[in-house]
Amino acid sequence: MAEVTIKVNGAPVSRDVPDAMLLVEFLREELRLTGTHVGCDTSQCGACVVHLDGRAVKSCTTLAAQAYGAEVTTIEGLAAGEELHPMQRAFHENHGLQCGFCTPGMIMTGIDMVRRYRAAGQELDEAAIRHELEGNLCRCTGYHNIVKSIRQAAGEM
């Protein structure tokens, strides 16, 4: 067993879990935060993306124990009460989703890329968004409105 002491969406959590428990299992099964989805089980599709100390990671290939001492943010932790995060609002307003299964991962990846480009002083243009989204698959939308959503949010964040 491994002790996992972390902060999830700002709240401290401590549990003893099997050594091999994945972060996504910890979030979904232990904490019932089911907005983080398992799409492909092998870190290809990006439906499981969460923020670990502010950086996007695929929680289906991260051990819960690896997150020891870290701060984890999930899709459930983005909104401030009723106030949606600009990235959430942009996906809603721009029809950036259909079945919605990839959406939480897309939003978490979108926020991460906006922050990284801003920190590096680079422009997050459409070509950059396409490149950055290589690790997030969507089967429904054809990505058009996803790119549009991230562009809008980048201007509002």
Binding site: H37, T42, T74, I75, L97, C99, F101, L133, L137, R139
Partner: protein, 780 residues
Amino acid sequence: MSVAAPLPHDAAPLHVTGVARYVDDIPRPANTLHLAFGLSEVARGRITALDLATVRAAPGVVLAMAASDLAREADCSPSANDEPLLAKGEVFYAGQPVFLVAATSHRAARRAARLARIEIAEEPALLTIEDALAADSRFEEGPRIYVKGDATTAIATAPHLIEGSLTMGGQEHFYLEGQAALALPQEGGDMVVQSSTQHPTEIQHKVADALGLPMNAVRVETRRMGGGFGGKESQGNALAIACALVAQATGRPAKMRYDRDDDMVITGKRHDFRIDYRAGVDATGRILGLEFVHYCRCGWAQDLSLPVADRAMLHADNAYHLPNVRIESHRLKTHTQSATAYRGFGGPQGMLGIERVMDHVAQALGIDPVALRQANYYRAAPASGPGTGRRHGGAHSPKPEEIGPETTPYHMPVEDFILHEMTARLLESSDYAARKAEIASWNAASPLLKRGIAFSPVKFGISFTLTHLNQAGALVHVYQDGSIHMNHGGTEMGQGLFQKVAQVAAARFGVDPGRVKITATDTGKVPNTSATAASSGSDLNGMAVKAACDTIRDRLAAFVAERHQTDPAMVRFEGGRVHVGGEALPFEQVVKAAYEGRISLSATGFYATPKLRWDRIRGEGRPFFYFAYGCAVTEVVLDTLTGENRILRADILHDCGASLNPALDRGQIEGGYVQGAGWLTTEELVWDDKGRLKTHAPSTYKIPACSDRPRVFKVALWDGANREDTIYRSKAVGEPPFMLGISAWLALSDAVQSTGPNWPDLPAPATAEAVLAAIGRARG
């Protein structure tokens, strides 16, 4: 009015905050068991030994079952009862479930499923279309054949003969949410099943059969799927049945979710085809006679293969009038996954055949491929309804056979053909002619990179070809506070059906759509539903909900009219108010008064599509209520050294009739196009020579990523109403845009043609390897 408003998806607020629930997210009782299948690694053989002792002894395992442990037959087939849940003595494909494990966790079940000792005496497997043909291994007694006119004579006497053969691969659905089910045992042996399915009634029926219960003892609920695309029409049956059997045997809830690799290895995919063609054409490229032979690889079980292969035949004409045509269709049985429904349901394969013929004829005769297509189009529909607006019988009147609609190869008149106008508008808005010329000169100066451009049309038949499926039911309640509860037989898989139908309900009552509560599809509320498939969801369920709403609305109108001493027909429902006798009463006030007046505020609604008549054996009748149309122009660039390629630009004009929700419809068009282009370019399924699927994860099976989408993507909706009386004159939109992706494949073929003088004979999918080989053929 709420109809035609571009409202966002109803569940968008839930999706962006992560609280939308899929089956795997539903809180489950603490003692729930988790299931996994143990699979055959052999494509064909007899099971000589099956020892589950180590499985049963594994940590967390509560139960392990083989076919011999089942008290009664458990069958998963939607059609022919030929799919046992667990292999019975023989295996028929690599990936077939052989046994079932129930354990205390998902992981424990999956680990244990690897521990069985299975011995299989391997036998030669039929894996390919050619294997099956050689062994005459097929479904149905022989090929289905549809005939119109005399193709053989027309081809023999035609000035030119163009012939060839096209292979096209299948396609993995890759719904982001894998298959999942949860069974919850109830008192008295009843069962409740939560299933990620497009067809709750089928789940109910198959679970009831497997449990030995009448259908009324099983209730199935589906709130949403994380994508379906046809892959959840029948492929969820196995999981639901397995969960229900374990729940019945143990009295504990049981849940099953396929790991992605299992999902890809176990479940069926789009049918791959080979289409042979012989076309007799005149000097202008008009097709005088055409023969198609469709070879359809169905896999080991019948599933939905017969209607899929039928629909391929029904789209062998696409948008073109074929005066003499013969279509022969072989449904071949192989030892591979049982191919199943996938967006378009055979239509895309049939359509790809004729689009290939058009390009081949254009290349052989040196005619512009778009002009050739236009010359072969069906005759335009009259501007107004048939028989109106035209004078007949005068000296200069056209002969009746010249003005009447032309018929399809299955003898259905095409009465609503609008592609002439749509094509003209798209060619203009996409600047096709100038770009084509510019690309030709660019290519002449570019030795390594070559660009290509192509146009393709879509005419897609709307209705289930199994005519009795064209029915739907709805249940609507208005509560005494004026809130509305809406339920119907359709399922939500992301397409926005629930929102569209809620907009219909809101429009009928003249209230804001926010007043309409959208609820999970539930076999206990609306019975005997058809699958949400064949693009029919909003056509059928929209009409059924309208009927239910109108029943309640008429009761409300009669009630208030009587109070105001006026005619019920004068009562209007608009802007959240009921307008009667010069007053505008709040809707909720009228509802409350009606409740107190002892008026029933609940109603069912029903709809059956009119005008359908179809004989699938003779290939004659009217299988479709109407056609949905679209067209696309795609431009690509390819690297002649590596075969790598990109879509540079796509222009689309698509016909949704009078759209119920233009935002949702555009989403279907964009997503459909990209998925269709994926089928024909990067999505390659590879089986090894033992019949094992080697592309069983996204690492090896390449669906379009964000970078694959067209750089420039212009989508417009055609602004005409449906000529048939559909819900608010809208048209179905789920499947038709998928086939717009054919233009991307044709554009690649065009780019390859610029590398040499010969016919490149590009197969599908046009992977980089296939493109390179085609360049070799073009250069000769």
